[in-house]
């Protein structure tokens, strides 16, 4: 029947299909739908930049306007992937620039971006509007200057947690006076900024809704900026400290008055440096906050955090440091009844003990916040009883990531592994999509995961399991699994090779410090030509003597349509 509709009608219908997965599904229905979908697709998501080539992207989706690309594997965040591994955006930008693609939005995660790439990007696409860089590296403020100077219709420049070399070039001043289209600006990860240029920029961009400042913006400047931008919805403060020299009470009074006028602020973050006595200035906006991120505010102690939280009755997402303590989490539980997402980060990586949270805090949260669906929780310890209680209280987890700071630590009360606790979580939250495990765990937890976690897409395993059976339970049971990352667990060739076809249904598999051998990886690579099986080998090449029986320190494999990558450094071997 749909064949009798002209293409324009189909296209119009497809306009309402926005999620990537739905559009992918649409394209598989028939050749006609594939064709219409492909020409009308504007937003493309590429979860692994090595799975496909820019040329093929351009050939299939000539109308693409918004592109998301991800590069390095997730464990690169934790220094498990050496420098120069790859993930370069340059070939993508060059190819897109050569073509007639009217790129407007680019979002990159864990990629290597050069100043040259940014320069080419800024000059090649007249309607370029939005650049979002997350956990990227390789560029300097010279690249940012090019973006500022050349992208005449820029709406968004969002720099999240990047490593940026800062030159003394006042890149912010490169935005021309004619730039008045900014909606979102985030430079919190930089150390310096040209204050005068910033204030002028804010003054001439009345549509600015999201502004995240860095440490170099003092509280006095914040006050002036907020005067110019009371329409902000999303604010990241920089430094929130009153200079000892300045007239404290006057500055504070002005700040408080200005903040009160900012009635639209719903998301608050920053406080990269903070003097707790200044915090009450933000109490008035706390009442309307739906997202609060204090995870970089190492200067706020538990009691001050608690005072602040008591005002945040409408909070839906809270990111915080563990210095809030179990008591603080109890306050969150009684105040933030709409809480959906909680992330508790460690303030002390070696777990000195006093500045931390335990199972008590988590149980309190689960009891007070039944809407909780996303959790990241770094803690000193966890018990099965607590996890079982959490599972009973909250049945809607989509993301459940627990990190007990001491690897492979058992339940401190019973000295048992945490298999039953995690089992309860996956059994009760039927829609769980992402899971990170920690603590002492046997193969049993994987049996539960394989049995119950039907929607699971991403699983992170560390220091867990007893044998290949563990990994097999997961590979066999989790039909929707896309990303599996494992470190320091006793899984070897038997598990790796049992179902080689499985890996083509997944984006990637990472295994480090496990028991897989070179021979096992070679076998896999031979059987599956559409996988890139990469070995990261930082040892002296001579010592890694190509013995098939030798265990592989780091293996990363991923499905791909374009064969072994040509930019692999010498310490990465792609097996064929």
């Amino acid at each position: 029947m749909m064949n009798y509709f002209p293409d324009e009608v189909l296209e119009h219908v497809f306009d309402f299909v926005t999620s990537h997965r739905d559009r992918n599904a649409v394209s598989l229905v028939c050749k006609l739908w594939y064709r219409v979908e492909r020409f009308s697709r504007q937003r493309v998501f590429i979860g692994n930049c090595y799975a496909i080539s820019p040329e093929r992207l351009i050939a299939r989706f000539p109308g693409v306007k918004a592109l998301t690309l991800k590069g390095k594997p997730h464990f690169a965040d934790f220094n498990l992937v050496p420098q120069d591994w790859g993930g370069y955006v340059q070939p993508w930008i060059e190819a897109l620039a050569r073509s007639r693609i009217g790129l407007e939005e680019l979002r990159l995660k864990r990629m290597v971006v050069s100043d040259e790439s940014l320069d080419v990007l800024s000059r090649s696409f007249t309607n370029f509007k939005s650049l979002v860089l997350v956990s990227c590296e390789g560029f300097t403020t010279d690249g940012l200057a090019a973006i500022a100077a050349n992208c005449r219709f820029l709406r968004e420049l969002d720099l999240q947690e990047n490593e940026i070399e800062e030159k003394k070039n006042h890149w912010l001043g490169c935005f021309p006076d004619s730039c008045t289209s900014l909606v979102s600006l985030n430079f919190a990860c930089l150390k310096e900024i040209n204050l005068a240029a910033l204030e002028r920029l804010v003054a001439r961009n009345p549509n600015l809704k999201s502004l995240k400042l860095n440490r170099a913006v003092p509280i006095e400047a914040l006050q002036r900026i907020l005067m110019r931008a009371p329409q902000l919805v999303d604010l990241g403060t920089g430094s929130f400290v009153l200079d000892r020299d300045s007239d404290d009470s006057e500055t504070y009074r002005k700040l408080k008055a200005t903040i009160q006028k900012c009635r639209s602020i719903r998301n608050l973050s920053g406080f990269l440096e903070v003097a707790p006595r200044c915090l009450p200035a933000v109490y008035p906006i706390c009442l309307n906050l739906t997202y609060l991120n204090l995870s970089y505010a190492a200067g706020i102690h538990g009691s001050e955090l608690i005072k602040l939280i008591r005002f945040c009755g409408k909070l839906q997402r809270l990111w915080i440091l563990d210095c809030i303590g179990d008591k603080g989490l109890e306050v969150v539980a009684s105040t933030c009844k709409d809480l959906q997402e909680l992330r508790v980060f460690p303030s002390d990586p070696f777990g000195a003990g006093h500045a931390a949270v335990t199972e008590t805090g988590l149980v309190a949260i689960s009891s007070g916040c039944p809407k909780l669906n996303s959790l990241l929780y770094f803690c000193q310890q966890m018990t099965n009883a607590a996890l079982i209680a959490v599972a009973k209280n909250c049945t809607n987890f989509i993301r459940f990531r627990l990190c007990i700071l001491d690897p492979a630590k058992p339940d401190p009360v019973t000295m048992q592994p945490l298999d039953e606790g995690f089992g309860a979580i996956v059994q009760s939250s039927k829609r769980i999509r992402r899971l990170s495990l920690s603590g002492l765990l046997t193969d049993r937890v994987f049996l539960y995961i394989g049995m119950y976690a039907e929607q699971l897409e991403m699983l992170s395993i560390a220091f867990a399991g007893d044998s290949d059976k563990g990994m097999l339970y997961v590979l066999n049971g989790c039909k929707k699994l896309r990303k599996l990352e494992i470190r320091d667990s006793p899984f070897g060739d038997m598990a790796l090779l049992r179902d080689v076809g499985k890996y083509e249904t997944m984006r990637s598999l990472w295994m480090s410090s496990c028991d897989v051998t070179l021979g096992g990886c070679k076998t896999l690579a031979k059987k599956m030509p559409r996988l890139n099986v990469e070995i990261i080998n930082e040892n002296d090449q001579m010592e890694f003597a190509h013995e098939d029986s030798q265990k592989v320190e780091k293996m990363y494999l991923y499905r791909t349509l374009v064969g072994p990558r040509k930019d692999a450094p010498e310490f990465v071997w792609t097996l064929v």
């Binding site: 956990s135 310096e192 995870s295 970089y296 980060f345 002390d348 492979a408 000295m415 990170s436």
Partner: protein
């Protein structure tokens, strides 16, 4: 399989004693063996503090991304510092050396370290009395200019120093040092910090 050191020292977490003395490097192989001794025995309570510390020092553990590590841990607990090795040359010395600027608390601390490194005296003096000392410590900054050590605050210095040179006073004349007090970059009140 015998796992050799992987040369990942740069990325390993290290325990540093307060005062910036040399970090304790935990041997990676030792960590591995220690761990496998425990994992098979579930009745073992991992109560031994030393064992705990060892396990906590596994590379990339806890899984906190490096940006967050550098920016959110408590100042006093900021045990992982990014390495700031710079080359140091001294006029007359046959070999260059390297120092880790992040391991020093200030100029006098650095001066002492340099004196030890090159087995000489006078560097500390030169910081206090540049006019009269025999040695002139200078550094190359991010812009490629050679500057006299000691003018700017320590934190600013370690951010911008790319290499060090201990010059003989006789060489200093006409070398093209930037005079103290000038801001050659053209920065002025606009730049915050």
């Amino acid at each position: 399989m015998e796992k050799e050191g992987l040369g990942l020292e740069i990325t390993e977490l290290r325990l540093g004693l307060p005062g910036g003395s040399a970090p304790i490097l935990v041997d990676k192989n030792e960590k591995k063996r220690v761990f496998s001794d425990i994992s098979g025995d579930h009745d073992n309570s991992s109560t031994d503090w030393k064992l705990t510390q060892t396990k906590n020092q596994a590379v990339g553990w806890p899984p906190v991304c490096s940006y967050r590590r550098k920016n959110s841990f408590h100042e006093k607990d900021h045990l992982e510092t990014s390495k700031m090795y710079v080359k140091v040359s001294m006029d007359g010395a046959p070999f260059l050396r390297k120092v880790d600027l992040s391991m020093h608390k200030g100029y006098s601390d650095l001066a002492l370290a340099l004196e030890k490194l090159f087995d000489c005296f006078g560097i500390g003096e030169s910081l206090k009395d540049a006019e009269n000392s025999e040695q002139v410590p200078i550094y190359e900054d991010k812009d490629g200019d050679w500057m006299l050590v000691g003018d700017v605050p320590w934190e600013m210095f370690i951010e911008s120093c790319k290499r060090l040179r201990i010059m003989k006073r006789s060489e200093a004349k006409g070398f093209g040092l930037q005079p103290k007090g000038s801001d050659h970059r053209g920065n002025s009140k606009d730049v915050a910090k």
